[in-house]
Amino acid sequence: MTERPPLQNQDRSEHIINALQQARDARNSVYIKGGGSKQHLIGRNCNGTILDISGHRGIVDYQPQELVITARAGTPLVDIIAALENEGQSLSFEPPLFSGIATLGGTLACNLSGPARPWSGSIRDMVLGVRLINGKCEQLNFGGKVIKNVAGYDVPRLQAGALGTLGVLCEVSLKVLPRANKTLTLCYDMSAQEAVQYMNQKAGQPKPLSGAFWLDGRVYMRLSGATSAVDSTVKQWGGEILASDETLWRQLREMTLPFFDDQGALWRFSVQSSAKVRHDFGTTLIDWCGAQRWVHGDHAGEVLQQAAAEAGGHVSLFRGGDRNAEVRAPLNSVEQVLQQRLKKSFDPDGILNPGRLYSWL
């Protein structure tokens, strides 16, 4: 992240609106790009003139006592985290930083959250307000900078996972939280099925659990919080305390564990945390207390969808594979119509990241 000269913090909203207006006038679609860290992940391939918003960056407002930070969408997460750390605060949803280039806007658009997700919420849970430009080139504010706000529909949260298809995110306000005083990881040897049972049972206890994942015969339980709470839980639960655990959780969050080295198709299951473990899809990494599971390989999408549905959730092709085909779980006709109407309400001409989420959206 220090290899290239840092971009100046600046407000490029006008430039973005103009670029979008030009595209709209020429009946061209745009492909919105921030740091580019997730260009080949999560969504389908998308054609369109690149609308680069990475220059639109900088923290606009940060009041530690309000537990709220507002920054331009192109701001790298590392800049935000650095500012928060100075005040003893953090992004509780623990997003991947992807070599330091992941931006705030991209992280919200992809709804990406790290290992703490089941306990500390997602970026979708923490977003309080957005300023966005819709497909009609209108600059709109929704939500705000306060923790409770039910005026109007929750447009800020709607942006999470929408992959930029409803608007170009310009500015995002997030709730932030104090950093934990102490973090420590316990690990135990057990099978995947035993681990799913174990993680969920432990999550039902009032202890400061902040991470639970299983890989290669071991389950890792992370505790974060007040020193007294972490220490007393360690005493009660027992188990091996893992040395240099920070590296492990960072690698899990950044998807740099050797498990993720395989550059072929990578599938992400989002299922009920307690769902039975399947052994027919090869090696599995089980994160989020069981609610997020990763497998590799050229599986038939329908077979995986069926398995995910049985487990109460859905599966998506996170990386690799055929990214011109659908990469997300199919929706029924009623759902499709609603999603299309919603898309149209923000972007009547379909110029924002068309096809990025679904071929028909």
Partner: protein, 443 residues
């Protein structure tokens, strides 16, 4: 508020989801407005009947369908009361976190529609943070499952849109909530202050210390006295303001934080500090707070409850402005609110039999909401817009923003039959629809 009342064309009390579906199909065919209603505890007239529409009471759909102990979820019909979910989960050491003051009566379906909060939102979030999945009927009567048993869903996050949509986008027929483990221990620290500004500053000091309390509530003099008369909670009657701060967690953590917070209160000018001895005293300290609205109801013929949210740093400024307005409008005001979230609940007291007092109360309320927006906040933190705050929506949103909200409404309900005249002011395009709020205006 008692000012908003209307008789519906017809009330229906379905007992099954299929009956709800049937009603919706008929209404869709005949183009009849549908207003969904749970327990009717809402505070913004969001469930007020429509004179030409059906009032769809979902109170008979009142079954908890399933509690999954291992996955920590409960599946409930919309008419189940908020508290009964926690009651049913308690034997498994679990509970449902959002706890609006009306939790004995208010329904989970209504909670979703209003995105209800409660006294524990600062730490545990609002309804939107605590639900996994919804079964919803569209205005056409089509059944949809929104969300999943996982932690996200594949398309647009319709659950985010439906939550807090005040019955304008669909009818909720089932809710799956997340349950949390009951904390090992919870304790309340109550501090009295001799002015509201000092109390307001103490709120910021706790947050600055890196502690997120489970609840952090403030009451001012009139509210303290009314609540104390009502509940005998042991509040210091002489105080200008009290803070009720709850900490929960493991026993060790609670002990550590309780001491720290008690010291902080003293350092920030508290005139009295009480730490709950046991569960009975903790419950009693909360009883006064939770009964504050009815307690005000006892001392005033009517009251008008506002719900703006402001940045915490503006607390003392805004409270002092509210007192100034109280004198200007010659109407007493009591403040009972979620200080940790900056969510104010000024209760403007008036007598509805005096028509000038009604107008003064409304104007006073509107001024408070405008003030909330001006200091960087919003017009409603948890009670919803309903009819009551419809005209203040233009303070918070531009015309373009309101049109965008209107377009979202059209995407779900093109004929505008779901809870018409509430939530989102309709600016143009549909003359008939625009006329509705006006028809509902009282004089």
């Amino acid at each position: 508020m008692t000012l908003y009342s209307e008789l519906p064309l017809l009330v229906v009390l379905p007992e099954t989801v299929e009956q709800v579906q049937h009603v919706l199909r008929i209404c869709h065919e005949l183009n009849v407005p549908v207003v969904a209603r749970g327990a009717g505890t809402g505070l913004s007239a969001g469930a007020m009947p429509h004179p030409e529409g059906i009032l769809l009471c979902l109170s008979k759909l009142d079954q908890i369908l399933d509690i999954d102990i291992l996955a920590r979820t409960a599946r409930a019909q919309p008419g189940v009361s908020n508290l009964s979910i926690s009651d049913a989960a308690a034997e498994h050491g679990l509970y449902y976190a959002p706890d609006p003051s009306s939790q004995i009566a208010c329904t989970i379906g209504g909670n979703v529609s209003e995105n209800s909060g409660g006294v524990h939102c600062l730490k545990y979030g609002l309804t939107v943070h605590n639900i996994l999945s919804l079964e919803v009927l569209t205005v056409e009567g089509e059944k949809l499952t929104i969300g999943s048993m996982g932690l996200d869903s594949p398309g647009y996050d319709l659950m985010a849109l439906l939550t807090g949509s005040e019955g304008l986008l669909g009818i909720i027929t089932e809710v799956t909530v997340r349950l949390l483990p009951l904390p090992e221990l919870a304790q309340v620290i109550m501090a009295g202050f001799n002015n509201v500004s000092t109390a307001g500053n103490a709120v910021g000091a706790i947050i600055a210390e890196g502690i997120i309390p489970a609840g952090l509530e403030m009451m001012d003099r009139l509210a303290i006295q009314a609540a104390e008369d009502f509940a005998q909670a042991g509040y210091p009657r002489e105080a200008a303001a009290i803070l009720l701060c709850e900490v929960d967690g493991t026993s060790e953590e609670v002990a550590q934080h309780t001491q720290k917070i008690a010291r902080l209160f003293e350092q920030h000018g508290a005139t009295s500090v009480t730490i709950s001895r046991d569960e009975t005293q903790r419950a009693l300290l909360w009883k006064g707070r939770k009964a504050a609205f009815p307690a005000i109801g006892r001392i005033s013929p009517d009251y008008y409850c506002m719900d703006g949210t402001i940045p915490r740093s503006q607390l003392s400024f805004v409270l002092n402005e509210i007192y100034r307005l109280s004198e200007q409008y010659a109407l007493p005001v009591a403040n009972v609110f979620h200080a940790g979230d900056g969510n104010l609940h000024p209760l403007i007291m008036f007598d509805a039999s005096d028509s000038t007092a009604i107008h003064r109360a409304e104007e006073f309320g509107a001024k408070i909401l405008e003030l909330s927006v001006r200091v960087g906040g919003c017009i409603t933190g948890e009670h919803g817009v309903g009819i009551e705050k419809l005209s203040q929506m233009t303070n918070q949103f531009t015309a373009q923003e309101l049109l965008q909200l209107e377009d979202i409404k059209h995407a779900f309900d093109p004929a505008l039959n779901l809870n018409p005249g509430k939530g989102i002011p309709i600016l143009k395009r549909c003359q008939e629809y625009r006329a509705l709020p006006a028809r509902h205006q009282h004089d």
